[in-house]
């Protein structure tokens, strides 16, 4: 397989919602190319359409015009090679941790759903929690289970919609470190929505800064920090400079 098999190409995507006070442009002619294995963050103030763009890439929302291609075929909600993780963990309380994680693979009729789920529970440090009920877990653990579920079908493309924004700062940092490690090890093409600059700098290869009304791209900033990423890097001079640069690009819209 060629390495650009799971590149994402967003071409001229516009999204217009009809509101009571007339049409509102949530996204205005977005063009974006994400290379295979690249980690790209969409960052901006609320209302900039970053979540809408992610949902369009996921095939969950139809663009008003333009197109999204993943690995050469159009975005579609039920693609098994693309996995989405939401802001809330959305675990099913009638299933235990393992059953939650294996659900996507099970729906795809994969015989090895259980083993695959166990593998990703181990990767996310949840092996001992497989038979726990989800209500026994803390918020951070729940989101970790959600991450394991997103990975359980071993998708080449991972879409994440502010997955850690509801967590406390320390839990968020720990999960960021783990996500960075998983990315360094497996190199999935990842599109990550966040409004946290430090988080975006720590995780990303590139950050797409966005502005609201109408939602559009302000700048695309390369994050040339060495990989593998470590927690110590968050306070390095290079990371701080990049964070400032990111902040400046959107400061007019805050």
């Amino acid at each position: 397989m060629p390495r650009d098999d799971f590149a994402i190409r967003v071409a001229g995507v516009t999204k217009v919602y009809n509101s009571d006070s007339g049409p509102v442009a949530a996204l205005d002619r977005i063009d974006l190319d994400i290379r295979e294995g690249e980690f790209v963050s969409l960052l901006g103030p609320s209302g900039c359409g970053k979540s809408t763009l992610l949902h369009i890439v996921a095939g969950l929302t139809e663009p008003s015009s333009g197109s999204v291609d993943i690995g050469g075929s159009p975005a579609q909600a039920d693609r098994t090679d693309v996995s989405i993780m939401l802001q809330r963990p959305v675990l099913f309380p009638w299933k235990n941790v393992l059953q939650n994680v294996m659900l996507p693979a099970k729906l795809q009729g994969r015989a090895d759903a259980g083993e695959a789920a166990m593998h990703f529970l181990e990767l996310t440090g949840l092996a001992d929690f497989a038979t726990k009920q989800v209500w026994e877990l803390s918020g951070g653990m729940k989101q970790r289970v959600s991450l394991a579920r997103g990975l359980a079908t071993d998708p080449p493309v991972l879409l994440m919609d502010e997955p850690f924004s509801a967590l406390d700062e320390f839990t968020r940092e720990r999960l960021n470190v783990e996500l960075a490690r998983l990315h360094d090890e497996h190199g999935r093409t990842t599109l990550f929505v966040t409004h946290n600059i430090a988080e975006a700098v720590f995780l990303s290869d590139r950050i797409v800064t966005m502005r609201p009304r109408p939602g559009g791209v302000v700048d695309i900033i390369d994050i040339a920090l060495p990989r593998p990423r470590t927690a110590e890097q968050t306070t390095s001079a290079a990371a701080t400079d990049l964070a400032l640069k990111v902040r400046e690009s959107i400061s007019a819209y805050l």
């Binding site: 095939g59 969950l60 039920d78 009920q133």
Partner: protein
């Protein structure tokens, strides 16, 4: 008095020390049962005294002791068990027919937006209508036998459960639906893995309601016209001014209702084990 609040082990209240480790099932059971027990015993004592003091005519309001004696006598009579069996058959058959049809129709309506919009107002209209008013019509249609009572019991518990099934399906978490779409779940998979379990708490609540409604339906239908049943028994005793026996029948019905409700409650606890956690 200061020694009473001492925290030293040797001087603490003797009773408190003993109950701390065993503050488990028995103590919780006791905590739950003693207040209603006190109230019930109090009411029965006042009731008994009021009649004994001839403040009320015992024919109009027989004392609890007389009701107890009537009940003790009734349960030895074959006609009582014949009546109980008839009423229980009507209630259970009506209940089962009512909940199965309500669940099936509710699920079908919940799956089709057009069908739901078309039938929802009609369901609400029937929900608001006092359905027991249908009892005379059902008597005309289905006769004096068990059938008219079964239909009444089924009708009375059908609509509330249908509404619960519909509401349960509508209130499924939107993010969860989004995820199921992204997993590529088929309609049937989405129903089995998400919609059904997510709406189960409301459905079971509806079923708990339905079991008591079914009993009401059966009794009312018996009042309207029947030859056998607890409703018939209660009515007959009242006409004979045997109010004590009439009360005894009501006590027996209360007991049946409790048993039925308890069974559904048990099923609910087993089936929706996550209810209190989420």
């Amino acid at each position: 008095m200061s020694s009473m609040v001492s925290t030293e082990p040797g001087t603490a209240l003797p009773g408190a020390v003993a109950t701390v480790p065993t503050r488990s099932r028995t103590s919780r059971l006791w905590r739950a049962t003693w207040p209603p027990t006190v109230v019930i015993v109090g009411i029965l004592a006042v009731w008994e005294a009021v009649v004994a003091l001839h403040w009320v005519n015992p024919i109009i309001l027989p004392p609890p002791s007389a009701i107890g004696a009537s009940l003790a006598g009734l349960v030895t009579e074959p006609f009582f068990w014949e009546a109980a069996q008839a009423t229980m058959t009507e209630t259970l058959a009506g209940f089962l027919i009512g909940i199965v049809t309500a669940w099936m129709l509710g699920t079908l309506l919940g799956m089709s937006d057009l069908a739901r919009r078309a039938l929802y107002p009609i369901v609400v209209a029937f929900q608001i209508t006092p359905r027991i008013a249908f009892a005379p019509i059902f008597l005309t249609w289905f006769g004096f036998g068990l059938e008219s009572k079964i239909v009444m019991a089924a009708t009375i518990c059908f609509f509330p459960l249908l509404l619960n099934v519909l509401v349960g399906m509508e209130t499924v978490d939107r993010d969860a639906r989004t995820l199921m779409r992204s997993f590529g779940a088929s309609r049937w998979q989405e129903y089995r893995e998400l919609t059904l379990p997510a709406s189960l708490p409301l459905i079971l609540a509806g079923i708990k309601n339905a079991v008591t409604l079914a009993l009401i339906g059966a009794i009312v239908a018996e009042f309207v016209g029947a030859s056998v049943g607890m409703g018939v028994l209660s009515k007959t005793f009242s006409f004979q001014l045997d109010v004590a026996s009439s009360f005894a029948v009501i006590i027996a019905l209360m007991f049946f209702g409790l048993v039925l409700y308890g069974i559904v409650e048990l099923i609910d606890k087993k089936l929706v084990y996550w209810r209190d956690q989420s």
